[in-house]
């Protein structure tokens, strides 16, 4: 039972060292026991947040880029200004862009997403447009000859033919955004940057650094492989000319 004069007697300090692992205490390169204890409370939530951040950014970025590319495909003069603006956004270093957004938007998930989305635009826009433009004029003539409307030709001929280029763009965008999302933690407490940050502040704690950094890299490589698979499924005709 807790006594009232507890403070005067001094606190009871549990023996924490009994539960510590010597690998962790000596900060060896990689402590599997730490990983097994901390995967679900620390690494998994960070990984899940990381995936969500990246997915949302690429999805929104893709929608915007697709709209811009279709517009620029139709009205050529839109291309240069779009490239100019997206290149501008793309060139701003991530650490700076996140901070620049904090002032007007606040240090929140919106700032994070706006920055991430803005990095997808150049890549996706350029690749979608390149893909659309690469459709040979004869093919379009043939589509027209078959009585397709402009819209039908777009959906049934141009976009399918542009698919390899579009997926190639998506691959680059996804991998880039997964890498960039590690910086999100500087303005919003989410993603694999969080455990990297914690680990850097603690010594650095090597196991956590390697685990969290490794997860970010692995996630990028796996997503890339996944998209290659998707591309093969969607465009069996292009199997021989992977990007």
């Amino acid at each position: 039972m807790a006594s009232v004069s507890l403070a005067a007697a001094g606190p009871v300090i549990p023996d924490y060292s009994a539960q510590s692992s010597s690998c962790v205490v000596h900060n060896h390169l990689f402590c599997t026991d730490w990983i097994s204890h901390n995967f679900s409370p620390i690494l998994w939530p960070a990984l899940r947040q990381h995936i969500l951040l990246a997915l949302a950014a690429v999805a929104i970025g893709f929608a915007i880029s697709m709209a811009l590319a279709l517009a620029a495909h139709r009205y050529r003069r839109l291309e240069r200004p779009t490239i100019l603006v997206t290149t501008f956004l793309y060139t701003i270093p991530s650490l700076a862009l996140f901070e620049l957004l904090v002032a007007p938007v606040g240090p929140n998930v919106f700032s994070a997403e706006i920055a991430l989305v803005s990095y997808t635009l150049l890549i996706l826009f350029r690749n979608i447009l390149t893909g659309l433009r690469a459709v040979p004029a004869e093919v379009l003539d043939a589509a027209e000859g078959m009585g397709m409307s402009r819209r039908q030709a777009l959906w049934r001929v141009e976009l399918p033919l542009a698919l390899p280029a579009i997926v190639a763009g998506l691959r680059i965008a996804v991998v880039t955004i997964i890498a960039l999302a590690t910086i999100v933690y500087t303005i919003y407490d989410a993603g694999l940057g969080v455990p990297i940050h914690t680990a850097l502040g603690e010594g650095p704690f090597k196991t956590e650094l390697i685990a969290a950094g490794g997860l970010a890299i692995l996630l990028a490589l796996l997503s890339d492989a996944l998209l290659v698979g998707v591309q093969r499924l969607l465009t069996p005709w292009a199997r021989t000319r992977a990007s």
Partner: protein, 328 residues
Amino acid sequence: MTGRRMGRRSNVMVSATAALALALAVGLAACGSSSSSSSSSSTSSSTAAGGSSSTPGAGKPPITLGDKNFAEENILGALYAQALEAKGFKVTLKDNVGSSEIIYKALSTGRIDMYPEYTGVLLSAVAEQKTNPTSAEAAAQEAKTFLEKHGSTLLDTTPFYDSDALATLPSFATKNNLKSIADLKPLGKKAMLGGAPEFATRQEGVLGLKSEYGVDLTFKPIAIELAYKALESGQVDVQDVFTTDAQLLGGKFKVLEDPKHVFGFQNVAPVVKQSVLAAEGPAFAETLNKVSALLTIQAIQQMNKAVSIDKQSAATVAKQFLAANGLG
């Protein structure tokens, strides 16, 4: 100004900004909040099973407790949150809200209802007070006065304080007969003093050492995470450290006394909105004060060690501490 307690790691590498993050973003925390709230809810159920405590907090309005972005604050946040939960209060814990300026903004805009703060930091960073208090009690009183002008208040302070301190190897201290910082004076430029780069330009640093003690050693910038290594390897003779560092456990290093309080007063107390305090009833402050009273320097050093060196989670460490002291 001591920047450290505003976010210790931010000096090393990050960003108070990191934190800037959560401060205002808490509402959106689809991602961020799940881990902390799940950990706190699990503890509340386990303590309920313990059954020893009454639950004066039952039915009171839920509150949100924030903490800053370094280990010690995470521990403090977990301790206060879990102790309240054990009494039936409904608490959401928001870890890593941000630096002092940011977390205080989160408090004043109502995004959080309370957070643990260092008195000296509150005075310098939030109140932007230029004069230094003369005692720990004065620091707490001045902080409280400032807060009460702005709709909040300060509860009881902890016995421990986390300020800068100068440490040496015991052998060096014995050889030079060092007890207090004043004893360093005769060493002069021969002795090497290590510290984070900004230590050289702070009043709570090289400048204060010179003006208050006449101590003028050769300064060598040392990254915070290398502080103890620098001492051990003999790179420096005296090193700027923090009083609550886990490394100070076990007598491998000696901390010099600071009778003139160059390093200020950095005891911790919960900063709470007055409206919240009124709504939650007397048991609320009582519970928090009981926790604070337990936090001696040894207690916080041990908990810092468990989190920073043994890499246990702040929630687990806090839970065990509260359980051992009848507050869990």
